[in-house]
Amino acid sequence: MVWATRKSGTDTRSPALGEHPATVPAGASNAGLDSELGAAEFDALLNAAIDGIMVIDEQGLIVRVNRSAESMLGYSAEQLLGRSLNMIMSDEDAGRHDNYVGQYLRTGRRRIIGIGREVLARRKDGSVFPVSLSVGEVRLKGEIRFVGLMRDLTAEKQAEEEALHHREEMMHVSRLTTMGEMAAAMAHEINQPLSAIATYTAACLRLIARDESNITEVVSALESINAQAHRAGEVIRRIRSFTRSRELSRRPVTITSLIEEIRPLAELDAKASSIRLDFSLDPSLPEIVADVVQIQQVVLNLIRNGVDAIRESPAERRKLLLEATVGTDSQLRIAITDQGPGIDESLRDRLFTPFFTTKSTGMGMGLAISRSIITAHGGTLDFRNNVDGGATFWFTLPIHPEE
């Protein structure tokens, strides 16, 4: 777990009354506590709070708890009062906590006081759950108290995990459908060299059967056959490298080589709809650190959307352009421009939400997944409508990604 110390100069100073925002100066906010009504009001306030609240003394012993803390931890107030805070912390955090409080008292260096961090708490039944713990300090008549606020993060964590899991699942599904659609185009691409080979051999047989056959003609046909066999093999090699189990890690790569790998696939896809696909890749583009397969998927998604957008256009507008450049902000910028109908401004926000689609066979996941991939890489993905019609979908990737 990562947490930060503030950069303000108060870090190393000795704690002093009223110096920190988290410190409650004695007598300031609880002026009415002496009166009976004030005490009742204070208890009601504590017990109404959704967060668990407990007050701890200098030794780390619990001196007051509210109802939420009781139900969160499964202990009654009686079982908690006078006990060490360590009882309700996971073993790992308990050790640290002692350190933090002790260290703070000795040096004033904040580890937890006034900061708030995520720790694991332990229930009476021994089960451990995540809480966000923030601790404030109270000084009253020379005594020091710490007020801890605990928020149960179980539900939040669960939702987060589910979202992550869901996203991974969707990415898998979408990759498979992309592959499925690609398979048809791929069959076409292997068919080309095969039918050329079949035709060349048939022609050779006929040429040889005719007595006046010309040997140089036959030799040159054989050379072509050889080249076509290699071409078919190359297509298969490409497919295999694309479907190879997914690389999880990011690695340094040039965008040019990343795009070159999927270029045959993309071209097939475009060609199947009689679309011309042009690439403009600046050869001097620097390396980026990226998950290659994920970025390739983004590029394929955007190309596929472009193909869909211009499928019905007249021949002279059935063109797609993929450009990769370095922006003035020293970000790598990849843009895919189509000459389709563009995007209605009223749809701008909905486009990137999962399952939004205007296509009868679309899943509406392409842009949602693509944006999440690019965001995870520290970049931005968006689009603009062009004046001469059509849309440009673009994304950026940092050239020197942060550690």
Partner: protein, 208 residues
Amino acid sequence: MNELSTVFVVDDDQAVRDSLGLLLKSVGINSRLFDSAQALIDAYDPDWRGCVVLDIRMPGMSGMELQQQLIELHCALPVIFITGHGDVPMAVDAMQKGAFDFIQKPFRDQELLDRINQAINLDAAQRSEEEQQRAVGERYETLTPREREVMECVVRGLANKVIAMDLELSQRTVEIHRARVMEKMHARSLAELVRMSLMIEGTAGSRA
């Protein structure tokens, strides 16, 4: 096989195109190869005879669009589509628009050559009919208005006597006109003259 016939091959794939050219050459058929639909349109000449062999999938102008353009150019060359796996619906569409045939890749060379020969023969037959029609039309142009009137009556099967009365001519004059018509139209029998008159009507009808 008609010596003037050529197979016009359009395929963006260099190897497929080149191998087709070699196959045609191996059986003595002339070919001209184009790497795009547009290249064929740019070179198109109405005097071309033979047939077109066309890949249905191509970048830029697709095979289907080329077919449409050829129709607009009143090109009567039979078109054979070469299709890949899964292009059948497209091919059916092309057939409905008057394509001669389609053949799936990879194909047997003999199969393709047979279709090509059939297409070339069809084109030749269409051509000779067209030419005959043109010749008959030209001969018809040489008839005088009176001879045309007589011809019209003759092909309706009227006897010379009836024609004479209808046109207020002597029977002898009708006989002379009738002989002139047969001679000028190169008709050896009444039946032939009737066929020619139908041809003329056909062209007159399509011109209207």
